[in-house]
């Protein structure tokens, strides 16, 4: 995609405590196409961010999924923003990424952001839910397990932002297919093994059970 001329004031807000994680990597990808200011929620004062939101025409929030939603720190910011409602129709896009390779696990985050948008007077422009995002660990999107579909879908999402157009949910929904039955069990075993090995390094030994065993 060619670099799009910046016609709007864009605020790229990272809702991750990690400065170089996947949430920021996705915003950096957007910044390459749509010039804008990258702000870290965990590094700035609430009032400063609210002022920047006020001055922006377009806001893109990108954050990790913590137990099926954006981090509580973002929720705290949204509540503060709600106290300043009504806003002036700023365009709002939301990205959420999480470890589980399913869209439904993380979708509540953008559904909630959409409600926030309508209750506060923003213009909801769409979200992008990325499953399996945590394993990128801030690395390029091209390393995503479904990169073939996810990369073009995300590029399309960026194009929507650049053009100020709404982004349909189908974009991310159709780009991600959950792993099949065999792969699910392979992942469970592999990830559990990796966790146990990691903990062993710190002298913690987990009693390994078959990963799919019932409690």
């Amino acid at each position: 995609m060619n670099k799009t001329t910046c016609l709007q004031r864009v605020l790229l807000l990272s809702a991750s405590p990690r400065i170089k994680g996947t949430s920021v990597m996705l915003l950096e990808r957007i910044r390459k196409q749509v010039q804008g200011e990258l702000v870290h929620l965990y590094l700035e004062e609430t009032e400063t961010i609210l002022e920047k939101m006020k001055a922006a025409e377009t806001i893109v929030i990108s954050g990790p999924c913590y137990i099926n939603g954006y981090p509580g720190a973002l929720q705290r910011l949204l509540e503060a923003a709600h106290e300043k409602a009504p806003w002036e129709g700023q365009k709002l896009y939301g990205i959420i990424n999480g470890g589980m390779p399913y869209v439904h696990t993380h979708r509540s985050g953008v559904d909630s952001l959409k409600l926030f948008s309508s209750q506060c007077g923003f213009s909801w422009m769409g979200g992008f839910v990325l499953g399996g995002g945590a394993m990128l660990d801030g690395g390029p999107l091209e390393k995503h397990l479904s990169a073939k579909k996810v990369v073009p879908a995300f590029e399309q999402f960026v194009k929507c932002i650049a053009e100020g157009q709404p982004s349909p949910d189908a974009l991310y929904e159709e780009a991600q297919t959950p792993p099949g039955k065999v792969m699910t069990h392979v992942f469970a075993g592999l990830l559990s093994f990796m966790m146990s090995r990691k903990l062993k390094k710190y002298a913690y030994v987990l009693k390994m059970r078959r990963p799919h065993s019932k409690k």
Binding site: Y42, L115, L206
Partner: protein, 176 residues
């Protein structure tokens, strides 16, 4: 049974706590609005160097101790944009320190699991809550219990629920 209640704007948590106690159930009430609980910093220490322990030194340390000894958690808080209030959400995300770091398969999907937890309930409080907001809240809780691999149910009630609603929810909490 532990009640985690963000009670600054609602009294439903207290009412439910009193109701289950009246029925002879042992319960603890934690008032989140009186606690200093910060957000999870995503440092990964609780699933690494200090496994099972959060290194943030705030009131959540004491809350985690109480939660780890309970098999049923009940979150009661105002609904904010179909979500838990930030105070409740920050407490919830800090509970991941009590989670099993391994992965399991449930209903054909990868899930995580909480140590020794049987049920997680959520009671969202909001007057005139619109249907779509209610749906987002209930769906969030469904995903919570799925990924935590526990039982549980969610309810949406107004700030002044009728006694029958309190009685019904208490009944469900006790018999789950």
């Amino acid at each position: 049974m532990v009640f985690l209640s963000d009670g600054k704007e609602q009294n439903v948590g207290k009412l439910l706590y009193e109701e289950v106690r009246r029925r002879g159930v042992e319960a603890t009430y934690i008032s989140l609005d009186e606690k200093d609980i910060g957000p999870c910093r995503g440092c990964g220490s609780c699933s690494g160097p200090t496994f099972g322990k959060c290194i943030q030194n705030d009131d959540m340390q004491e809350v985690l101790k109480i939660l780890s000894a309970s098999r049923t958690w009940v979150m009661v808080c105002p609904i904010r944009f179909g979500n838990y209030s930030s105070r409740a959400k920050m407490a919830q995300e800090r509970t991941s320190t009590l989670g099993d770091p391994r992965y399991y398969v449930e209903r054909g999907e990868l899930v995580k699991q909480m140590h020794d937890l049987d049920a997680f309930f959520a009671v969202g409080v909001k007057d005139h809550c619109e249907e779509n907001e209610k749906d987002v809240f209930l769906s969030l809780h469904r995903e919570n219990v799925h990924i935590m691999n526990v039982n549980g149910e969610a309810f949406v009630v107004p700030t002044q629920p009728d006694p029958q609603s309190i009685s019904h929810i208490a009944e469900v909490l006790i018999h789950e």
